[in-house]
Symmetry: C2
Subunit: 158 residues, 2 copies
DNA sequence: CCGAATCTGGATAAATATCATCCAGGATGC
DNA sequence: GCATCCTGGATGATATTTATCCAGATTCGG
């Protein structure tokens, strides 16, 4: 799994803590986590296209959550970064057997192997869909949240 | 996920069908599925090191299942090919925050984000562990099994 | 005992994906 | 107007996956 998932998760949790009064520039988030600014920006763009973040261009612009943390699941995040394809992709090698006829009725139903892997993937997605950004923000220690608020200069308001 | 997982699964299901009276050379399995022989061999070697297959060198040698299909789970197979690492790997970017002190007590407990991803991964593994090679062999249509037996010249005995 | 078949493991190369940077263009606020 | 900041494309660096080849060891069959 690409590292952008981890970056995106940390950034979104941070954005959840900060609230959406004021957008946060990508460069500032990169600085916070010591990540490459240009590349982190690419990840945030992907989150924007997926409707998880909204971006505001221009001075004092940046990113903020597009909706309440309770309504953003980990599955949303992971799918936005990694894409919607499953980890296991069936290449239908059963149809490459010498005698196999691709038009055979046998191939109408899915490959049992692909079905088994798919079932596991569904379990994974279900678990991801069951956890929201709000859960993550709450699970982190208060000290982490407080430190973030201070670092971003939001300690006073919130 | 690497394609070797799919190859390994198909090969193992086939070996389950054939029984373990006689080992099957890697080259023959490659021919069956039209896969690159040398590279498929590497995958089978990995399954051998993982204790899923046993290999016998020399003429009339090849691979066979190391134990009954009921006792080989999909998790065994996937782990053998993909390795034991989790898909999401936490790089502890929370510790890279400017003010963070790596010795802090806060970092003794795992990162909430990593824990959430880990939970999903466990659900995936659990589902994989619940399915065995025997289940897969049984789920495939009889015609596929029969065709394999014929192709490998084992139609008469079994 | 010889030779063909076969696995083992290392070296290597090709193809692809991931990670990362840069830049031109457009939008926004001061 | 100008500094800030997102957007998207082009490009390059690095890592991983896929694939090949070969020398060495082992076994079978004659």
């Amino acid at each position: 799994m690409s590292e952008g998932v981890e970056w995106g998760l940390h950034c979104c949790v941070t954005l959840a803590w900060l609230g959406d009064e004021e957008p946060v520039p990508a460069a500032r988030l990169a600085e916070r986590f010591q990540l490459p600014p240009a590349y982190l920006n690419k990840c945030l763009q992907a989150l924007g296209r997926a409707g998880i973040l909204t971006s505001t261009p221009g001075a004092r612009g940046g990113f903020r959550l597009a909706r309440a943390p309770e309504r953003i699941t980990l599955l949303d995040l992971v799918t936005a970064i990694e894409g919607p394809e499953e980890a296991f992709r069936c290449t239908e090698i059963r149809q490459r057997c010498a005698e196999a006829n691709p038009a055979s009725r046998e191939f109408l139903r899915p490959c049992a192997i692909a079905a088994a892997m798919h079932k596991a993937e569904l379990a994974w997605r279900k678990e991801l869909a069951a956890q929201t950004l709000a859960d993550l923000s709450a699970a982190a220690p208060r000290s982490a949240r407080d430190a973030a608020l201070r670092w971003f200069g939001r300690g006073e308001n919130d």
